[in-house]
């Protein structure tokens, strides 16, 4: 069992940028007055000459990053998911994605686990917004190790990428010795044929705990971690639908536009099965401590376990 590292993925991201920048002089980082929060400050401390604070002006930041990419740099532009994908949506769409420029957009404080700041800062739409843009790669890593690997893959990939970062410190569950990240490929974390749980991001570990708990009850749930929301791994989802029938999706995002819809699109086309969606049920968030909110929204182990139990019972 690998050592558990408790860390927010935003921090893993900042560390990864720093490590990658050592050998890659083309990496430049932009932030919009949130460097201390998005953790691009880690990069800023090491590489001040390649860090630019654009101030509270996200639209311009994305445009400047696009111009930098057009001149051969690999710009990383970070802000809160809300402002990066919301305020600057159209700059991302028209100045980055349409010309296919090599800009990496990092959206931190994604989802309701942003916590006390409340609904205006809890972005539950970012994956949907980014997924709707032609050609955009959308990543949602689940723990420290996955975030580090995903950041490396995003930098190595030539083209626009959106990467989702969390504020909340969470336990790692991957083993760095055996973990391998492949863009667009889901990872089976737990084998089983009674039902398939497909989870993404910060709540994958909760889903993992839930499926392990259910083993004792004789429920064998398959668990797939989808770190790449787009392009989504059609093969792993189709195989699961064929082999296990029912699918349950788990995401810290609106059930409209994100993982749930991406999975539904695949199964509707390849192998129609019933899909149960755990996530934010088309509502806004509200203030509160992160774990209390995750619990309220049914995104913690006991709630996920209950849904799996109910779905399996329904099938029998």
């Amino acid at each position: 069992m690998a050592e558990i590292i408790k860390k927010a993925t935003r921090e893993s991201f900042g560390e990864a940028l720093c490590e990658l920048a050592k050998d890659n002089k083309d990496i430049v980082v932009f932030d919009a007055d949130l460097a201390a929060a998005t953790k691009t400050s880690i990069f800023q401390k090491e590489y001040a000459d390649r860090f630019f604070d654009c101030g509270i002006a996200e639209g311009n930041m994305i445009g400047v990053a696009a111009g930098m990419a057009a001149a051969g740099k690999i710009p990383v532009a970070a802000s809160f998911a809300m402002f990066a994908t919301g305020r600057a949506f159209e700059q991302i769409r028209n100045s980055v994605a349409y010309p296919g420029l090599n800009v990496k957009i990092a959206g931190s404080h994604a989802g309701i686990s942003t916590g006390e700041d409340g609904a205006t800062h809890q972005c539950v739409e970012d994956m949907g917004i980014m997924r709707a843009i032609p050609g955009m790669v959308v990543l949602n890593p689940a723990d420290h190790w996955e975030m580090k690997a995903a950041t490396k893959a995003a930098i190595e990939y030539n083209g626009p990428v959106y990467i989702r970062l969390g504020r909340l410190a969470i336990d790692s569950f991957n083993d760095p010795e055996t973990y391998s990240f492949e863009l667009g490929k889901g990872i089976t974390l737990h084998e089983g044929n009674d039902v398939t749980v497909i989870a993404t991001g910060l709540v994958v570990n909760e889903a993992l705990k839930a499926v392990k708990e259910l083993e004792a009850e004789g429920i064998n749930a398959r668990l797939i971690n989808i770190h790449t929301i787009k392009p989504i791994d059609r093969e792993i989802i189709t195989k699961a639908a064929k082999e296990t029938g029912r699918i349950i999706t788990v995401e810290e995002h609106n059930v409209v536009g994100g993982l749930a819809d991406a999975v539904c699109q695949v199964v509707a086309e390849e192998c129609p099965v019933k899909v149960t969606k755990i996530g934010v049920q088309d509502t806004f968030g509200f203030s509160g401590p992160a774990w209390e909110l995750l619990d309220k929204f049914g995104l913690t182990r006991p709630h996920i376990a209950k849904v799996i139990r109910d779905v399996v019972a329904e099938e029998k």
């Binding site: 400047v64 111009g67 001149a71 740099k73 010309p99």
Partner: protein, 282 residues
């Protein structure tokens, strides 16, 4: 510049205007008014000011041009064709299905286009990014961008302006093509932007006001910009929307309407007469 050089530029600009008319006529859509008002600026930049190589459009050390008012690409395309980036006949398929020349500039498909633009306010930020990259790489290339006067109503323009002066982008030159008209009417009636010079000054720019159809004034402004250190330059160019085609001049209706066959022929003939007269002076 001697008088024959100026005549040559005027001939080229008239040809660029013919290209804009040709393109929009064949497209049955597009934006002739602003294409005509900015044609002299494009012509001077590509023929006198910018270090570019049409045979090597991706040359790393080239000067960059970003048409922030992307809808005025018909005359930019014409200048690029005249420079040899692509064949003049491409203009006749502007905006057609499968054509190289898109309704707004597409850097991926069109040689010589340095940035995809069209959504107003965005090009100027990209130009800032290019200028900053040049500074970071210690390259001496310069970056030029042309905005519309309606375009400066976009908040992003001012975010970019703050960024440019904060980062001391003295390798950036920003033109505002002040033709005074936008789709819904006169700029000052729709959402007044004046005093634009004081605004750019307050945002940390060196500001130069010129007649945007006077090549000597365009030249002296750009020469001055090269001497400005530690801050970007804004050249506020007073222009006439529809310039060069008498029935289009200062007519808001010609913002985004293509000429029909008769209008196309009349405009082309009028510009041809200007060219003949200029050539006669040579």
């Amino acid at each position: 510049m001697d008088s024959s050089e100026i005549r040559q530029l005027k001939i080229l600009a008239a040809k660029a205007r013919q290209g804009a008319i040709l393109g929009t006529y064949h497209a049955k859509s597009g934006h002739p008014g602003g294409s005509l008002s900015a044609a002299d600026i494009f012509t001077y930049l590509y023929y006198k000011e910018m270090k570019v190589d049409p045979k090597n459009p991706q040359w790393e050390d080239r000067d960059r041009f970003v048409l922030s008012k992307g809808h005025c690409c018909p005359s930019l395309y014409a200048v690029l064709a005249l420079k040899g980036y692509f064949d003049w006949n491409e203009l006749t398929t502007l905006r057609h299905v499968g054509a190289m020349l898109q309704g707004h500039p597409d850097m991926k498909g069109t040689p010589g286009v340095d940035m995809s633009t069209g959504s107003l306010g965005q090009g100027v930020s990209a130009a800032c990014g290019m200028a900053l990259a040049g500074k970071l790489d210690k390259k001496d290339y310069r970056v030029y961008t042309v905005l519309g006067d309606g375009e400066v109503e976009e908040g992003q323009v001012w975010e970019a302006a703050m960024f440019a002066s904060h980062n001391k982008l003295d390798n950036l030159v920003l033109f505002v093509d002040q033709n005074g008209l936008q789709i819904d009417g006169a700029v000052e009636d729709v959402a007044g932007i004046e005093p634009l010079d004081k605004k750019f000054e307050a945002f940390g720019f060196e500001v130069i006001k010129i007649d945007g159809h006077d090549f000597e004034q365009i030249k002296s402004a750009l020469d001055k910009a090269r001497t400005v250190k530690g801050k970007p330059t804004a050249i506020l160019a007073k222009t006439v929307k529809g310039k060069g085609v008498s029935f289009m001049e200062n007519q808001v209706g010609w913002h985004g309407v293509a000429p029909n066959k008769e209008q196309y022929e009349a405009a082309t003939a009028e510009l041809e007469a200007q060219i003949k007269e200029l050539e006669g002076e040579c």
